[in-house]
Amino acid sequence: MPKPVAQPDLKNLRPYGDTTNDGAVQFSFTLPVEPGPKAREAATQLVRKWGFFDVKIAHMSSAGVGYSFIVCFGRTELGVDFTQIVVPELSNEKRTYKEIDSLIAKEIKRPVKVVGACTGYDAHTVGLDAILNMKGFDGDIGLERYKNFRCVNMGSQVPTDELIDRAVKEKADAILLSKIVTQKDIHITDMQELIGKLKARGLSDRFILVAGGPRITHAMALELGFDAGFTIGTRPSDVANFIYETLRDRAKKKKG
């Protein structure tokens, strides 16, 4: 009787193709040389040098002016220890907008104010709008439609100083920053700018700071000094719930 299949090796977590722990990976890349046996050999050596074996150059074709487009496959034994990976995760509590609204009414006892913007030259408002606008996202209504949220959506291309001024003026509980363009790490630069300017103005702990965008992770946002980071697929209620929980916990701390 043959043995059933091996278990995934979580201590050395590797990709899976069709045999558990086979370490199977697909690559594609372009080399700045004409296709041919030499380029094929170069591609093979390259992928081997990256630490892969069973390297198969599945495809090589001419791409444009003197380039080779390559699709290949390889395997590796280099994995990571999955049991040692710890990432800060956002609260797993999923609440509906009604629940959040009534929890705010009961526990915070006043409407929550948020100011959102896309700063710098970022003109991508769809993500922020998805969180703030009535209509919301993915069937989940936006913060503007919550009874207990007051929202200011400053839109796109907002200078960081204007965002801070407005948050101060509105006595906002939270600032919502959206960063979509990531070229040359501009999202990080702009996130740092907000943190820096708040600090310079002595407002470091004044607001709950929330960032969002497709290349933002919670861990990275924390590292930069934000209270949370939201990425692809975020629903407005996730954000509402986070703001509610943070306000609640801060209130408790003050008391306790």
Binding site: P2, V5, D18, Q26, A58, H59, F73
Partner: protein, 526 residues
């Protein structure tokens, strides 16, 4: 310009093709009437319950092979294996499991056992066959019930999504199959290990070593069936299972599939001859018995015409494909099969760089749809012209899925981006199924929205295929199917009546003594 919901195809010509195909079938009927094969007799044994095995050469060797061996050595096989089993059960006064044990232990030789009066044996044999038949019917009903309870995606009237698993290891296959089903696959095909079709026995037990596929064994069938049933139960969506019913064990596989609740079987009247160099007579006889079993077990047969386009040019070989479809249909009708069980095969195998290739493929698919309106057509993705460019491959598959949806195919055999490279990885299937989900959902109703121009390129292209098919069938009728195969009428391959593997496993039956009551029980028209 005038348009209609269908391509204009001559009903008269279609009828003409069907009538020729029937007559081609009649000729083969004589062959089947006069002969049987080792494979068919082993299938009879398996129907009776002889599915055990003995250890041999580190592999498990089926008892049915051993029994047919005993009978053939002493010339008793020409009476039919059933006859001698009935005789043995009567002389030994035991049941099938006990008899099997004795044989496995080497305590009993069917070839030399004393012979009881044939009337008595015949009667008992009839009863044995009836019991086995009833068992099959029970399996079928049980399966029907499960299908209904879990929810049959077939009822949605949309093409079923068919994918293959082929890791070589049944336990990995199970992971991959469940994953595919969860991602949205409706039919799982477990691909067999390279050249299993050439084995003259069915391997036994769960297996973890195969080349480009996993051995088809009863235990592997059972393991996979259970996994899919569990998932289907949880998801509320029945998942079909299929395997290959070709090669030297065609009808035995059908028995095992029926027992283990498979829903479909890749089964073709000529595939083994053309692509596996199996003796033509052997294949033609075995296919009939395998189809009887499928027919009564509610198993769809999926025919293999897609293969023809692999060794010929698909643009040119449309007539061969269509002719073979008519022949497969005629043979299935001979086995009493319902048209709704005939998953007639065809494929999208033209060079994607041909000008108008999308028009030609659509015309072909729509033509097939119209000619076989009741069949849950099996439509196969492009494979031959796939290259290692997985992105291009995915684009071709996307168009395949769309044509499948537009022309209402019964089952679409999803293409894999890595078709030209390896048997699918888990993610290849995920990519493929996600793409198909998009197309099937996004193009819902498209077939009711668009009409075909009645004097257009597509109309002419389809009409030409039909015209050529009439001609081809007429030529085949004249010289006979076996001669036609010899003359490379199909797939550009030549095979002779006496050549090929397994020829020695064909034997003339003694029409006075030979019994195989399953023919009648299962509604054979031969």
């Amino acid at each position: 310009m005038s348009y209609a919901s269908t391509l204009p195809l001559s009903a008269k010509k279609i009828a003409r093709c069907r009538s020729i195909a029937r007559s081609i079938g009649d000729v083969v009927a004589d062959l089947i009437h006069a002969n049987s094969t080792f494979g068919t007799e082993r299938a009879v044994l398996r129907l009776l319950g002889f599915n055990g095995a003995l250890q041999k050469d580190n592999l498990l060797f089926p008892v049915s092979n051993f029994m047919v061996g005993q009978l053939s050595e002493t010339g008793r096989l020409e009476d039919g294996a059933l006859y001698w089993v009935a005789n043995a059960l009567m002389t030994e006064k035991c049941d099938v499991p006990a008899l099997e044990q004795k044989i496995l232990r080497g305590q009993l030789d069917l070839g030399s056992l004393p012979e009881l009066p044939s009337k008595q044996v015949d009667k008992f044999a009839a009863k044995l066959a009836k019991d086995s038949f009833d068992r099959l019917i029970r399996y079928r009903k049980q399966r029907d019930k499960i299908r209904q309870r879990q929810g049959d995606p077939l009822k949605k009237g949309r093409p079923l999504k068919y994918v293959i698993v082929a890791t070589g290891n049944i336990f990995e296959d199970v992971i991959q199959a469940k994953s595919a089903a969860l991602d949205g696959a409706d039919i799982i095909a477990v691909i067999r290990s390279t050249a299993q079709s050439l084995l003259d026995y069915v391997p036994q037990g769960t297996t973890t070593e195969g080349f480009g596929g996993t051995y088809a064994t009863q235990a592997n069938f059972a393991l996979m069936r259970q996994a899919l049933d569990e998932l289907g139960e949880k998801e509320g969506r029945y998942i079909r299972l299929t395997n290959y019913c070709s090669g030297l064990c065609m009808s035995e596989i059908a028995v095992l599939a029926a027992i283990e609740g498979l829903d479909c079987l890749l089964n073709d009247a000529m595939y083994g001859i053309l692509f596996r160099d199996i003796n033509p007579r052997r294949t033609l006889i075995d296919q009939h018995f395998s189809r009887l079993i499928c027919s009564v077990s509610g198993i769809w047969i999926m025919t293999g015409e897609d293969n023809y386009m692999k060794t010929t040019d698909a643009v040119e070989s449309g007539d061969q494909v269509l002719a073979s479809q008519f022949i497969n249909e005629a043979y299935a009708l001979n086995a009493g099969m319902k048209k709704s069980q005939m998953s007639i095969g065809h494929a999208m195998e033209m060079d994607p760089f041909y000008e108008k290739v999308i028009l030609m493929e659509t015309a072909r698919a729509q033509m097939t749809r119209q000619i076989f309106p009741e069949a849950p057509l099996k439509y196969m993705c492009n494979t031959k012209y796939k290259t290692g460019d997985i992105f291009f491959s995915h684009a071709v598959d996307t168009i395949f899925n769309l044509i499948g949806s537009l022309t209402n195919q019964g089952t679409i055999l999803l293409g894999m981006p890595t078709e030209a490279i390896h048997t699918p990885w888990l993610q290849d299937r995920t990519i493929s199924i996600r793409g198909a989900n998009y197309i099937l959902n996004g193009s819902l109703g498209l077939s009711h929205e668009l009409g075909y121009r009645s004097d257009g390129f597509m109309a002419k292209f389809a009409a030409k295929v039909l015209d050529e098919c009439v001609e081809l069938l007429e030529k085949i009728e004249k010289i006979g199917l076996l001669k036609a195969i010899e003359k490379r009428y199909f797939a550009g391959v030549s095979r002779t009546v006496e050549g090929g593997k397994g020829a020695t496993g064909v034997f003339p039956v003694d029409r006075n003594h030979y019994i195989n009551p399953f023919f009648e029980l299962m509604g054979s028209k031969i």
